[in-house]
C-alpha cells in the first residue's frame, strides 16, 4: 500500500504560487494552511490579505478572504472580528504594509486587544514595487531608494515594530521567527499555531513576525538569502518570543 508522506493541505487551492523561487511567502502560506487544518478551523477562518506580493493570497487559501487597502489589515480584521466574534480572523501583512503605511491601525488594534492574529512577514524591503526601502530595511542594506545603502542620518534606522507592539497592554503574544531553515520553519509553525490558539481562547491580540527571504530584491540566490537572514537580518531583528502573557 502507498503511504502519503506529503500532500497539499486541505485549505490550499490547487493553484501554483506566483511567488519568486526561494520566496518565503510560499512556505508561510503552506504553514498557515497546515495549522488551520490541524486546528480544525478552516470553516470559520477569515483571512485579510494585504497590498504587496501577498495580495493574491486569496488565490491560494481555500478559506474566506477579504482584501484590505494598503496598511489597513488590522482595521479591516477588527471590523470582521467584532461583527463575527466566533470566527477566527487573521491579517497577513508585509513589513511596509504594517510598519509604515499601516502603523497606526496596527498599534491601535493591539492596544485595544483585538482578538485577532496578525502574520507579519518581514523581508526588509518593499517586494512587489521593486525593492524600495522599507521601515525595516537594515542599515547599509541596498534598496532602489537608498543609493549607497540605508544611511542612519538620511533614512533613519530599522524599526522594531514588534517590540513597540509588545508595549501595549492588549498584545498577548508576539514572537519573531524565520523561515530560512528547517529548524526555523518548524518554530514558525509552532508560533502560528500558538497565535491562533490564543485567538480561539479569546485572549487577545497575537502576532507572529516572520523573517522571510526576498531573493529577488536582495539580488541573492535563495541559499544566500537564507544565510543572510541568519548573518544580518536576525542580528537587527533577533529571533525570540518578544511577549507572552500566557506563560
Amino acid at each position: 500500500m502507498e503511504k502519503v508522506v506529503f500532500k497539499r493541505p486541505r485549505y490550499m487551492k490547487e493553484a501554483p504560487f506566483h511567488y519568486c523561487p526561494g520566496c518565503g511567502h510560499s512556505i508561510i502560506h503552506r504553514l498557515m494552511a497546515e495549522v488551520i487544518e490541524e486546528l480544525g478551523i478552516g470553516e470559520k477562518t477569515i483571512g485579510v490579505p494585504p497590498a504587496g506580493c501577498a495580495v493574491l493570497a486569496y488565490d491560494y487559501f481555500d478559506i474566506d478572504m477579504g482584501e484590505a487597502p494598503h496598511g489597513r489589515g488590522a482595521a479591516v480584521a477588527t471590523g470582521i472580528k467584532r461583527t463575527l466574534p466566533d470566527k477566527i480572523v487573521f491579517s497577513y501583512q508585509g513589513d511596509g504594509d504594517i510598519a509604515a503605511i499601516g502603523t497606526a491601525e496596527t498599534i491601535h488594534a493591539a492596544n485595544r486587544g483585538e482578538n485577532i492574529t496578525v502574520i507579519f512577514v518581514n523581508n526588509s524591503c518593499y517586494g512587489m514595487t521593486g525593492g524600495q526601502m522599507a521601515p525595516t530595511t537594515l542599515l547599509d542594506q541596498n534598496s532602489t531608494t537608498t543609493p549607497g545603502g540605508r544611511d542612519k542620518d538620511r533614512d533613519g534606522t530599522p524599526i522594531d515594530l514588534s517590540e513597540m507592539l509588545a508595549l501595549t497592554q492588549g498584545a498577548v503574544y508576539i514572537e519573531r521567527t524565520a523561515v530560512n531553515s528547517i529548524k526555523n520553519i518548524r518554530k514558525t509553525k509552532k508560533a502560528i499555531t500558538k497565535a491562533f490558539k490564543i485567538q480561539m481562547a479569546g485572549l487577545g491580540f497575537s502576532l507572529v513576525e516572520i523573517l522571510s527571504p526576498c531573493p529577488t530584491n536582495w539580488k541573492m540566490s535563495p541559499i544566500d538569502a537564507c544565510r543572510w537572514i541568519d548573518e544580518d537580518v536576525a542580528q537587527t531583528f533577533p529571533l525570540k518570543v518578544i511577549k507572552d502573557e500566557t506563560d
Partner: protein, 359 residues
C-alpha cells in the same frame, strides 16, 4: 411607534440608524458632528449585538466599516468635510468591492481645515465619487429633521439593495437643529434578505473572496461596465426631488438641504409680493433628479440655483437643462448662511431683471 420626539439632528441620524439595523459604527470625532459618535457609543452599548469603536483615525474607521460590511453587518461611519476626505480611500474600496455602507458627512466650511460653520462645499466630492476610480456614491440630502430619520432608513436599504456605499450629505446647521421627529419602527434584522456574498467562514459552501484588485485590464473593464450598469439602474430607480409652489411658477429655485429651507422662506416672502416663484429641491444628489428639471423646462425659462458654495450643483442643473432654459446662480461659501430676506432680494431683482412679471 408614532410618538413625536424632539431631537438634535445628529442624534436623529443615530437613532434612525439603530432602528435601520445598524449594528456597527466606527468613527473619529470632528466638529460639527460630535454628537453622532457620542450618541452611537451609548446606543450600541445598550444593544447586545452592537459594536461602537472610537477609531484612531478616519482611515481606520472607514476600514473597520469595510470589514464589518464584509462580515454582513449594517455598518456606518460619520464625519465632517476634512474627515470625509480621509475616508475616500475606503469609500473607493467599498464601491469597487460592491460592499454596502452608510457614510454621514455633516459638511463644514472649507477647503482645508476651513471652519465649523454649515457649508455645501463638498457637493462635487460627494457626487463625483470622491475617491479614485470610476465609481459613484448614492448621495441623499436631507433638509428636515424628519427627513434625517427617513433618509437614514433609506440609506441602509439602498446600500444593501445595490451593494454600494451611500452618503448622507447634511451640514452643520442640520446636525445641530432640534426638530420634532417621528421614527419608523425598528427593522427586524432576521427578516432582511440574507446576504449570500458575505465572509462568515466557508462552511458547507465554496470559499469566497471579496476584493477590488483585478489585474487583467479586460476583466477590470468588464467590472467597470458592471458597476456602470448598476449606476444606470440606480439612476432610473431612485432619483428624487421635492417641488414646492412650482405649478404656476415663472422662476424656480433649485436648492438642497439647508439652502432649500432658506429658499422656501424666501419664496414665501416673494409670493407675498406677488412673484410667482417655486422650489425644486433635489433629495438625491446622486443620482441627480435631472429629468424632473428637464421636464419643468417646458414651462419654466429661468432657474436660480442657490448653494452654500461658489457653484457646484449648478453644473448638474445646466447639464440637465442642456440649454433649454436660463440658469442663474447665487451662492455664499465659507460657512456664511444667507437669510431668507437676502435670498428674497436676489429673487426679486432677478425676477424683474428678467421681466418675469410680464405675460
Amino acid at each position: 411607534m408614532d410618538k413625536k420626539l424632539l431631537m438634535r439632528g445628529s442624534q436623529v441620524i443615530g437613532e434612525a440608524a439603530i432602528r435601520a439595523g445598524c449594528r456597527f459604527y466606527a468613527g473619529y470625532h470632528i466638529t460639527p458632528q460630535n454628537e453622532l459618535p457620542e450618541f452611537m457609543s451609548g446606543a450600541m452599548a445598550n444593544l447586545k449585538d452592537g459594536t461602537f469603536i472610537q477609531a484612531e483615525s478616519e482611515l481606520a474607521a472607514i476600514n473597520m466599516v469595510l470589514g464589518a460590511s464584509m462580515a454582513g453587518a449594517r455598518a456606518m461611519t460619520s464625519s465632517s468635510s476634512p474627515g470625509i476626505s480621509l475616508k475616500q480611500e475606503g469609500i473607493s474600496f467599498l464601491a469597487a468591492s460592491e460592499l454596502p455602507a452608510v457614510i454621514v458627512n455633516t459638511m463644514r466650511g472649507g477647503p482645508g481645515l476651513g471652519n465649523i460653520a454649515p457649508s455645501q462645499g463638498d457637493y462635487f466630492q460627494a457626487t463625483r465619487g470622491g475617491g479614485h476610480g470610476d465609481y459613484r456614491t448614492i448621495v441623499l440630502a436631507p433638509a428636515y429633521g424628519q427627513e434625517l430619520a427617513d433618509l437614514t432608513r433609506k440609506a441602509f436599504e439602498y446600500a444593501d439593495r445595490y451593494r454600494t456605499p451611500v452618503m448622507i450629505l447634511a451640514d452643520g446647521m442640520m446636525g445641530q437643529m432640534m426638530e420634532p421627529v417621528i421614527f419608523p419602527d425598528p427593522v427586524n434584522l432576521s427578516e432582511l434578505p440574507s446576504k449570500l456574498w458575505i465572509l462568515n467562514g466557508a462552511k458547507e459552501r465554496p470559499s469566497r473572496i471579496i476584493k477590488s484588485l483585478i489585474l487583467s485590464p479586460v476583466a477590470m473593464e468588464e467590472h467597470n461596465w458592471k458597476l456602470a450598469r448598476k449606476y444606470e439602474a440606480i439612476s432610473g430607480e431612485i432619483a428624487c426631488a421635492e417641488t414646492y409652489m412650482t405649478e404656476d411658477a415663472r422662476l424656480v429655485i433649485v436648492a438642497y438641504g439647508t439652502a432649500a429651507r432658506i429658499a422656501k422662506g424666501a419664496i414665501k416672502r416673494a409670493r407675498e409680493m406677488g412673484l410667482k416663484v417655486g422650489l425644486l429641491r433635489p433629495v438625491t444628489l446622486w443620482p441627480f433628479p435631472g429629468r424632473a428639471i428637464r421636464e419643468m423646462s417646458r414651462l419654466i425659462k429661468d432657474f436660480l440655483v442657490f448653494e452654500m458654495n461658489t457653484g457646484q450643483m449648478v453644473e448638474d442643473v445646466r447639464l440637465s437643462l442642456e440649454g433649454r432654459s436660463n440658469t442663474h446662480f447665487y451662492g455664499r461659501p465659507g460657512g456664511v448662511v444667507s437669510t431668507p430676506d437676502e435670498i428674497g432680494r436676489v429673487i426679486s431683482s432677478l425676477y424683474y431683471r428678467r421681466r418675469l412679471e410680464e405675460d
